[in-house]
């Protein structure tokens, strides 16, 4: 069939293909983007929101160097068991995986403080359902640093018995950290909630990845939890958050963030 080549090729897209596609699109759109090509900053992308420089990490977190703070959104701990309660018995490994990934980025950035931008727990009883092992891992990650639980729609109250500070939002150094992005915010909003992802199409191939959706005024972080899917940046839920297509998607590749203009997304 004539479709064979096409189908096959699409299904054969390997990581290196994806990388080259995103590379091509990224290079075409903007000049030097990856200004930090050394040390810990390799593969990251520095983006300024309201004049505050943030480092977007390919593993899906943002680092705020000026305050040595690591920002992570939508951890959705215990999403698996939350579904299991309702009869969908998803593999019970999501919290462990999410913690493992979180441990890796904490080891890389050694932040003085962590701010979890809401929906850290999938439901209000999720913290109670943590297995002993996962609970201990989480406590060890929190140990020795400040920890802020911003509340979200899934976890309207901070988790009981885990420590850390619970806040509904936080203002500091020109930034506003909250869970749900507002349509008409003050400049400097950093939020999660929407699980942004974006698609680029090149040479007949489509690559879809989770991303940071950013403008000069705001940043929406990708979701970090193992069972969190993505929502396309052109979904109506994003309406009014950006001025037309004048935003960028910082798309997550393998160990590399690609800065791609909203105009070049599908």
């Amino acid at each position: 069939m004539t479709g064979t080549a096409y189908e096959v090729y699409k299904s054969a897209v390997s990581d290196s293909d994806e990388t080259s596609i995103m590379d091509a699109v990224a290079r075409r759109t903007s000049g030097p983007v990856n200004i930090a090509q050394f040390g810990d900053f390799a593969g990251t992308c520095i983006h300024a929101v309201n004049g505050v420089e943030l480092v977007a990490d390919a593993d899906g977190i943002a680092y705020w160097p000026a305050t040595e703070t690591l920002l992570v959104a939508d951890l959705h701990f215990e999403k698996g068991s939350s579904f299991a309660r309702r009869g969908q018995l998803l593999p019970p490994y999501d919290t462990g995986i999410t913690l493992q990934r979180l441990a890796a980025v904490l080891a890389r950035w050694q932040p003085r403080r962590v701010v979890a931008l809401g929906d850290s727990f999938h439901d209000s009883q999720a913290a109670m359902r943590l297995s002993t092992e996962d609970r201990e891992t989480l406590l060890s990650l929190m140990h020795g640093r400040d920890w802020v639980w911003i509340t979200g729609n899934h976890d309207p109250a901070p988790p009981a018995g885990l420590g850390g500070e619970g806040l509904s939002e936080m203002r500091e150094g020109g930034l506003i950290l909250r869970h749900e992005p507002q349509v008409d915010p003050e400049a400097g909003e950093i939020a999660g909630h929407l699980h942004p992802c974006a698609t680029v199409v090149r040479r007949g191939k489509a690559v879809r990845r989770s991303c940071f959706a950013v403008s000069r005024h705001r940043m929406i972080l990708p979701s970090f939890g193992a069972y969190t899917g993505g929502l396309d940046v052109f979904h109506p839920a994003f309406d009014g958050l950006f001025d037309g297509r004048t935003f960028h998607a910082l798309m997550r590749g393998e160990g590399q963030v690609y800065r791609i203009s909203g105009k070049d997304l599908r």
């Binding site: 069939m1 096409y6 299904s11 018995l89 995986i97 489509a206």
Partner: protein, 866 residues
């Protein structure tokens, strides 16, 4: 205008019934009650031998498989035992309880169930028999379903999905208390997939409820009837040294179909599948006949053929289009017009394959190769639904390889050979769904359910351990990490039975049962107003044309044009679950192809094609254009023998090609190409791409693979070694999109992911996303999980066709002949062109492509300079 090669044999119109020798047929009169004898007399008919044979089998309390060609009175034969028995049953006295259903009829299609109900009601009415007949399908309104439960009809026409739901009712036992016969129509098509697995499990439950139940299977010709005979009876009863099998009643003979291959006067295309070259000739055929059915293999072929025909339809003949992506209402309109004989032709895909009676069809045209001999026979059966008259069919090959394939299919049909695939063992995801369903019906003991399940032929070899793992999956997900004990859906109670823990899981089962899940699709909505200032208008309205595979649409950009529902439309953008399109007046769609059902070349036809190519004596039966092509191939390269695998290498346009002529079908070839590419990468050949068709795999790269083979740095035996199916396969499978799709289906069927929850349905995209995430987690943390096992078993025969890759590699061992050429060979031309069609951008590049095609062919076929 055209000349037909083929045969036209009208001599043998008699029917013979093969029955087992100890089956002495009674006189018809002894078996048929008086009203039936009179009815046959009034009609001026004789009961046919196979109808009597079936009555006799039924009288002995046995089950039967009836194999007969279309038009042999198969349906009536199937119903006669139940009808005659019912006619003799004493009337229900007033005050007596309603009796349960006596005869159950199961069909693969809703429409067929409705159709057969009409056909059975006619004799019932004419004989004035007190027999009630009803259908129960997905379309049956809720109030009628309720009434059916209280007052079951004597005969119930239904589908496999509905049977599963009926069996999961708490009062199933009462509903089926009087069941005596189950009739399976089109059994050959029911048993080949997961629907068949689910149905076999349902049948096993019926056997448990009614141990003396008799089954009657109606089937077209199949290669191995014994498999179907076994399917029809419990496998774990009686003497284990002999086969437990239903009686076989086979009708042989009948009018042989008149099949020909269109010997086109036009130039035969080297490649492609559109059949454009033959549009005028097909149009003339339509004009010469009353009603024509034009079968194609894919939806896009249907669109193209429909488009071409209307471009030349100067007489404005009513020609319609029918394929699975079109809106249901649109399809129903076409079907209605067809049965009222208001159409002259319908272009159709496999959606019209199965037994519905379509009025006065006097010609079947098959565009493209039929891919399997049995499928061809089935489709040809659509014309002239009377057994004593030959059906008439014309095959129209769309390219040169297809000429070979059509010829092979034609020979096969002539010889009566069949190539239905062997049945695979029952899928585990289906078993998991069934276990939940059976718990919904009533609490069960593990031992009881196990012996019930292994009575079903597909699960006859299920081991206890796997069965237990399936129960654990249903209960708590079956994970090594026992985290979900407290959320168990079913639980073993103190009396040793497994019970549902909450009634909502019964609802969950009812909303998600079944085995048919569409690939994620988006609705196509046609609007008047396209983009304005880069934005889609907020208010849309407009008509839904149908739906299309999301994987195809994901590759399009706004502004791209493609053929759909018989017109060229332009993609404007996506909103929610819809692709918004507008009408365009472009002559040529920019994107030529979208997916749809594809059948790989059957193993059987592939063998025929290989033999035909290998033997120059057989070439005379082929059109000159094709035989000439093979002759030049013999001069420029070699013609492989049937057991050999030809491998050619040659340079072209700064690339180096390696072509494998393996004829194992497109799915197996895709898998093979993926695996070979990995090997070539390791060998340093720097492969950069590949394309796979039903016949050939072409791989190209930057290094001269021919030279590498010559100097020993690339070893062909290693390249095609069977160990490819070990580690390489594992590594590739890890990331394979195909495997993720397969997993998604297993997860849906097994109930790990729900498609429907009370009040909401998940979109295809949401489900794909979540199933991909789950797949990644399971692959890393629990690769031996029961669903991963189910997925791998599917992959072996399904989208990856690993089994055929294995067959091919075994065949290739020691039988590879390599030709290192300085330029491409004639046999390589089709695949070289295949690549070019991948994406055609507008008119300019089309002519560019045509140019290069001319060059290619000249280069390959020019013997003098070679």
């Amino acid at each position: 205008m055209y000349r037909r090669v083929g045969f036209n044999d009208r001599k043998d119109t008699s029917m013979k019934v093969e029955t087992i020798s100890d089956l002495q047929l009674n006189e018809a009169g002894n078996l048929l009650p008086p009203p039936f004898v009179d009815w046959f007399d009034e009609k001026g008919w004789q009961p046919r031998p196979h109808q009597i044979a079936l009555m006799e089998v039924a009288r002995r309390g046995e089950s039967a498989l009836l194999i007969a060609p279309t038009g042999a009175g198969k349906t009536l034969a199937g119903f006669l035992p139940a009808l005659t028995a019912l006619s003799k049953r004493p009337k229900r006295k007033p005050g007596e309880a309603h009796r349960g259903t006596f005869g159950l009829y199961i069909s693969p299609l809703k429409a067929l169930a409705t159709d057969v109900k009409r056909n059975v009601e006619a004799p019932i009415a004419e004989m004035n028999l007190p027999i009630s007949v009803e259908t129960r399908t997905g379309d049956t309104p809720q109030n009628r379903r309720q009434r059916q439960k209280l007052k079951p009809p004597d005969l119930l026409m239904t589908t496999p999905e509905q049977l599963a739901l009926l069996l999961a009712m708490p009062d199933a036992e009462r509903f089926f208390a009087d069941l005596q016969f189950v009739i399976f129509d089109e059994l050959h098509s029911l048993v080949t997939n997961k629907r068949g697995h689910l149905l076999s499990l349902g049948l096993a439950r019926l056997w448990k409820l009614r141990p003396d139940l008799q089954t009657i299977g109606l089937s077209a010709t199949v290669s191995n009837p014994l498999e179907l005979q076994q399917w029809l009876v419990p496998q774990n009863r009686g003497d284990l040294r002999t086969d437990n099998a239903a009686r076989l009643v086979q009708v042989v003979g009948g009018a042989k179909p008149n099949i020909t291959i269109l010997d086109s006067k036009e130039r035969l295309p080297w490649s492609g599948h559109s059949g454009r070259h033959a549009a005028h000739e097909v149009y003339d055929l339509i004009k010469e006949h009353r009603t024509s059915l034009l079968f194609v293999n894919t939806r896009s072929q249907a669109e193209f053929l429909f488009q071409y025909l209307w471009q030349i339809n100067d007489d404005n003949l009513p020609i319609a289009l029918h394929h699975g992506s079109l809106e249901v209402a649109q399809r129903r309109k076409v079907e209605a017009a067809m049965s009222e004989n208001r159409l002259r032709a319908v272009v159709a895909t496999s959606t019209l394959d199965l037994g519905i009676d379509w009025g006065d069809v006097d010609l079947v045209v098959h565009l493209g190769a039929p891919k399997g001999a049995s499928r061809l026979a089935q489709r040809i059966g659509r014309s002239n639904h009377r057994m004593d008259e030959p059906s008439k069919a014309i095959l129209v090959p769309a390219n040169r390889f297809e000429v070979l394939e059509c010829k092979a299919a034609l020979d096969a049909n002539y010889l009566g050979d069949q190539d239905t695939p062997a049945l695979r063992s029952g899928a585990l995801d289906v078993l998991c769904q069934h276990i939940l369903g059976m718990t919904v019906a009533a609490p069960f003991q593990e031992d009881d359910l196990y012996s019930e399940i292994i009575s079903a032929a597909p699960y006859a070899e299920l081991d206890w351990d796997t069965f237990e793992r399936c129960i654990q999956f249903v209960a708590t997900g079956g994970y090594a990490l026992k985290a979900y004990e407290r959320y168990a859906k079913i639980r073993r109670t103190e009396d040793g039975t497994w019970r549902l823990t909450h009634p909502r899981f019964a609802q969950q089962y009812r909303m998600n049962s079944g085995t048919i899940y569409e690939i994620p699709a988006l609705r196509i909505r046609l609007v008047k107003q396209g983009r304005k200032n880069g934005k889609l208008p907020a208010i849309r309205g407009g008509r839904v044309l149908g739906s299309l595979d999301e994987y195809f649409l994901a590759k399009l950009e706004p502004g791209d044009t493609f053929l759909f529902s018989g017109e060229i439309v332009r993609l404007e953008g996506f909103i929610d679950n819809e692709a918004i399109v507008t009408r365009t007046f472009d002559e040529n769609p920019k994107v030529p192809m979208y997916g749809g059902s594809k059948f790989p070349l059957s193993t059987y036809l592939a063998q025929h094609v290989r033999r035909m190519i290998s033997d120059p004596k057989l070439w005379n039966a082929l059109p000159f254009q094709v035989s000439d092509w093979l002759r030049i191939q013999a001069q420029r390269s070699v013609i492989p023998k049937p057991h050999e695998v030809l491998v050619e290498t040659f340079p072209r346009a700064n690339k180096h090609y390696l072509i494998t002529y393996s004829f194992e079908g497109q799915l197996a070839h895709q898998t093979l190409a993926m695996l070979m590419t990995k090997r070539l990468e390791r060998a340093g050949a720097k492969p950069t791409g590949f394309v796979a068709t039903d016949y050939v795999v072409a791989i190209w790269g930057l290094e001269d693979m021919g030279a590498m083979i010559a100097n020993g740095s690339l070893n062909l035996d290693d390249l095609y070694d069977e160990d490819m199916l070990g580690d390489d396969l594992e590594v590739w499978l890890a990331d394979s999109m195909m495997l993720k799709r397969t997993f998604r289906q297993c997860a849906l069927i097994a109930g790990l992911i729900e498609k429907n929850q009370p009040g909401k349905s998940k979109s295809g995209r949401q489900m794909t996303q979540s199933s991909d995430l789950i797949y990644d987690v399971l692959r890393e943390y629990e690769p031996d999980h029961i669903l991963m096992q189910a997925t791998r078993e599917d992959a072996a025969t399904g989208l990856l066709d690993v089994r055929r890759v294995g067959d091919l590699l075994a065949r290739a061992k020691g039988n590879i002949i390599h030709q290192h050429l300085d330029r491409l060979s004639p046999m390589a031309v089709p695949i070289m062109l295949e690549k070019g069609i991948e994406r055609v951008n507008g008119g300019a590049s089309e002519s560019l492509l045509a140019d290069s095609a001319e060059n290619l062919i000249a280069e390959a076929m020019d013997v003098q300079s070679g």
